[in-house]
Amino acid sequence: NAGVTQTPKFRVLKTGQSMTLLCAQDMNHEYMYWYRQDPGMGLRLIHYSVGEGTTAKGEVPDGYNVSRLKKQNFLLGLESAAPSQTSVYFCASTPIMAYNEQFFGPGTRLTVL
C-alpha cells in the first residue's frame, strides 16, 4: 500500500514550457486535491476532484489545468510555465466519508526559470 505518490519529485522548467504532474493513490479514495505550498502562505488549493471525470477550481486555479480520467490518478498540467509557479506542489486524497483526514503525497518541487 503506497498511499499517495507523486511524479516527478523535482523539476526545473524554463518560462513558457509545459509539464504534467502525476498523482496516484491506491486507497480507492473518491476525493483528490492539488495544493501549492509557498513560504509564509501555507497550502493553497489549486483544483480538486470529487470523483472520476469531475474537476473543480480551488482558490488559485489560474495557469493550471487538471484531469481525473481514472479514479486513482489526478493530473496537474502547466501549459505555459511562469516563474510565479515556482513552488512545492502537493497532492492529497480522502474518502467520501465526513471527518476524514486528507492523505498527502511527498510533494513535487518545481522551479521555473
Binding site: 476525493y31 497550502l43 493553497r44 465526513a98
Partner: protein, 113 residues
C-alpha cells in the same frame, strides 16, 4: 483573503516546555478543524482534529482547545521534544462541496535541548 489566521509564524521552545500555536477563523460554516504536522521534505500529515461541538480534545501530548464563541482554536504540545520540531498547520473545513480544507499559514516550531 486569509480565512484562517495562524500565529506565531515561528516558535522556539526548550525541551520539556509547552508549545502553543493559535488560529482564528471568521466563517461560521466551518465544521471541522484539523492540525497537520509537516517535517522537512515531506507532505503534511494529520496530527489531531476537533469538531466544534467539543471544547477540547487530547491525544497524548497534543491538545486542541476550541472556543466557538471567539472563533479561535489552538494546539498545545506538552513536554515538547526535539522530535516535535516541524511546521504545524491549522485548517478548517466546510462540509460538502468536496470537503475542502482552508489552511493557516503555518508555524515553524523548533524545540531546543
Amino acid at each position: 483573503q486569509q480565512q484562517v489566521k495562524q500565529s506565531p509564524q515561528s516558535l522556539i521552545v526548550q525541551k520539556g516546555g509547552i508549545s502553543i500555536i493559535n488560529c482564528a477563523y471568521e466563517n461560521t460554516a466551518f465544521d471541522y478543524f484539523p492540525w497537520y504536522q509537516q517535517f522537512p521534505g515531506k507532505g503534511p500529515a494529520l496530527l489531531i482534529a476537533i469538531r466544534p461541538d467539543v471544547s477540547e480534545k487530547k491525544e497524548g501530548r497534543f491538545t486542541i482547545s476550541f472556543n466557538k464563541s471567539a472563533k479561535q482554536f489552538s494546539l498545545h504540545i506538552m513536554d515538547s521534544q526535539p522530535g516535535d520540531s516541524a511546521t504545524y498547520f491549522c485548517a478548517a473545513r466546510i462540509t460538502g462541496g468536496g470537503n475542502k480544507l482552508t489552511f493557516g499559514t503555518g508555524t515553524q516550531l523548533k524545540v531546543e535541548l
